[in-house]
């Protein structure tokens, strides 16, 4: 009697597993092999970029493309909206070192400017020996109906300590995705209002 009960449990369990596996396979087949749609690749349900994480965000800023381009080229301007940026050091040629505050201390990211099309696009790639393996790109497009400029920022990085490191950074809101989103919004505030919103009641808080 006891034995038969165990058998029933085993058979039911196996059947449930088989049904589950079939459902997952079907779902995977349904999401693969579909004709591409118009959405940016980073919004795909199943995206693989090797060891890299890719994130991006678009904001519309009511300012001309030239002016936004200039903000990303001037280290003094960058410091106004990139809150964690401690310093930017100019290197030889198109090299730049970004000193960024992270939960684990200051990180030095040495980059090369790999693209610079005035009023259209800018891209940086970290060089060998940099603290982070990262690539960032900013693209500028005219927004419809005279709304200004669509600013699309895009960043691909290899997280330290893999996915565990990524989650740890994300929980402390220090991952490139969160930082990038915040920086874009601050840039928008600065260009549209001349200041960055804060609820601080005093200057030194």
């Amino acid at each position: 009697m006891h034995r038969r009960k165990t058998d029933i449990v085993t058979v039911t369990g196996l059947a449930a597993l088989a049904i589950g596996a079939a459902a997952v396979t079907r779902l995977m087949n349904e999401t693969r092999n579909r004709p591409p749609d118009s959405a940016p690749g980073r919004t795909a349900r199943q995206s693989r970029f090797g060891a890299y994480i890719v994130a991006g965000r678009t904001v519309t800023i009511d300012a001309p493309r030239d002016r936004i381009h200039a903000m990303w080229r001037e280290p003094e301007q960058l410091a106004r909206f990139m809150q964690d940026l401690r310093a930017v050091e100019r290197g030889p040629g198109d090299r730049m070192t970004w000193v960024i505050a992270t939960p684990g201390g200051d990180a030095r990211i040495e980059t090369r400017l790999v693209e610079d099309r005035h009023g259209e696009a800018l891209a940086w790639r970290s060089v060998e020996g940099s603290d982070f393996d990262i690539e960032a790109k900013v693209q500028l497009r005219d927004a419809p109906a005279g709304r200004g400029t669509e600013v699309e920022a895009h960043v691909a990085w290899r997280p330290h300590w893999g996915m565990a490191g990524q989650w740890a950074a994300k929980l402390r809101r220090a991952d490139p995705r969160t930082r990038g989103r915040h920086e874009l919004k601050r840039l928008k505030m600065l260009l549209e209002t001349g200041e960055i919103a804060t609820n601080a009641n005093q200057r030194n808080t």
Binding site: T60, D62, R147, R173, T178, H182, K185, R186, K188, M189, E192, T193, G194, E195, I196, A197, T198, N199, A200, N201, Q202, R203
Partner: protein, 389 residues
């Protein structure tokens, strides 16, 4: 300075807080001369709004005198101003479209994440409310830092008493927008749930906009009496079947438009309401949507639904079928205060609108905690509390 701060459910205190300073170029510092407790402050008092932190200074209905200005402020020291509760930059896509409570640039960046997660988008900053709307220190205090002071505050001529214009900061424009959202046509019947300050101002506004009949619904005799004095017919839901009565009082059609001026903490012993309240009490993020459910059932086919009442989370048992099948239009939102202040100021000056009838109690700021307790517990008599720092 002295300020009213939040410490938890039914626990607010007047204590010392640091004086505010000019932080951004467009700021001004206001010395508060009058400030009121709002019905939506009671949602904070009851602890049903997410994102309120211990020590937060409350208050979003206030006015006062300018004592300091940033280099980009257009105000001048000594001017008297009423300050809208919505903080708006005046230059983003939304502000340009007069959707001031949707301002993209006034809610601090790091505060926008939670709001984006909960609502899909971050809303504007508000004074003295949740950190979802910026966590800005509020106006139940001696001094307030007012960001974007070149956009929001409206200058009050000397000689006009505070009490005549104080409610331009929130509840008068809120009642007005509630009626405007009903697209009232001459002769329309409009039903208003809730005879609190916003409901009463909605009654007044709907009549000014040409409604033929306004029916106000509540259970506090004194509040119903105030609605009656403004020209409304009234229904006491403790003695009358509301849906049946509304049908009979609108020629069997149902009201052309309905206004939910109650929001997330409905009163009454309906089963859906008891369940909602219980869930709310246990922090399950549920809004008590009893008034809104009734409004959707009551409104005539093809009618208009206006929701000035505050909701913050989710609601279930929501009559989506009635909304779709009857072909209803629904309009809502935090008030775009700056859109209305000029016109309403003019109407007050012309004597078309009087708001002072609402004030039942005047207290010094030091007694603000008593004001909250009584505004919460004795809603029949305590219709509006004005505090003086």
């Amino acid at each position: 300075m002295r300020a009213l701060t939040w410490h938890g459910r039914h626990d607010v205190r007047v204590e010392n807080a640091p004086d505010p300073e000019i932080v951004n170029p467009r700021d001004a510092i206001i010395e508060v001369t009058s400030t009121a407790i709002c019905g939506s402050d009671l949602h904070l008092y009851d602890g049903v709004i997410p994102g309120v932190a211990k020590g937060d200074i409350l208050g979003h209905e206030f006015m006062g005198r300018v004592v300091e200005t940033g280099p980009k402020s257009t105000l001048q020291k000594g001017q008297r101003v009423v300050v809208p509760f919505t903080i708006s930059c005046g230059s983003c896509f939304f502000c340009k479209a007069s959707l001031y409570s949707a301002c993209d640039n006034s809610n601090p960046v790091e505060k926008q994440d939670a709001s984006e997660m909960l609502y899909g988008h971050a809303m504007s900053g508000l004074f003295g409310y949740s950190h979802l709307t910026g966590g800005y220190p509020g106006g139940q205090a001696e001094y307030v830092r007012v960001p974007f002071s070149d956009v929001g505050p409206i200058v009050v001529p000397d000689g006009v008493p505070d009490e005549q214009v104080l409610f331009l900061s929130d509840i008068l424009p809120t009642g007005w927008m509630a009626a405007e959202n009903c697209d009232i046509e001459p002769g329309d019947t409009v039903a208003v749930w809730g005879c609190g300050p916003v409901g009463l101002f909605a009654v007044q506004s709907a009549l000014l906009m040409g409604a033929g009949k306004v029916i106000a619904i509540d259970h506090y005799p004194h509040r119903l009496d105030l609605a009656r004095k403004l020209g409304a017919e009234v229904i006491d839901f403790k003695q009358t079947h509301v849906l049946e009565a509304l049908m009979e009082m609108s020629g069997g059609l149902g009201p052309d438009a309905v206004i939910d001026a109650v929001g997330m903490e409905s009163h009454g012993f309906a089963p859906d309401n008891l369940l909602d309240s219980a869930k709310q009490r246990f922090g399950m993020g549920a809004d008590s949507a009893h008034a809104l459910r009734m409004a959707l059932m009551a409104v005539r086919k093809g009618g208009r639904v206006s929701v000035p009442g505050v909701y913050g989370g989710m609601a279930d048992k929501f009559p989506l079928g009635a909304l779709m099948e009857k072909g209803l239009q629904i309009r809502t939102g935090q008030t775009h205060v700056q859109r209305y202040t000029k016109e309403l100021m003019h109407r007050i000056m012309e004597g078309e609108i009087d708001t002072t009838f609402l004030i039942s109690h005047r207290l010094p700021l030091e007694e603000a905690a008593r004001g909250y307790r009584n505004f919460h517990d004795q809603q029949n008599e305590w219709t509006k509390v004005v505090l003086t720092p």
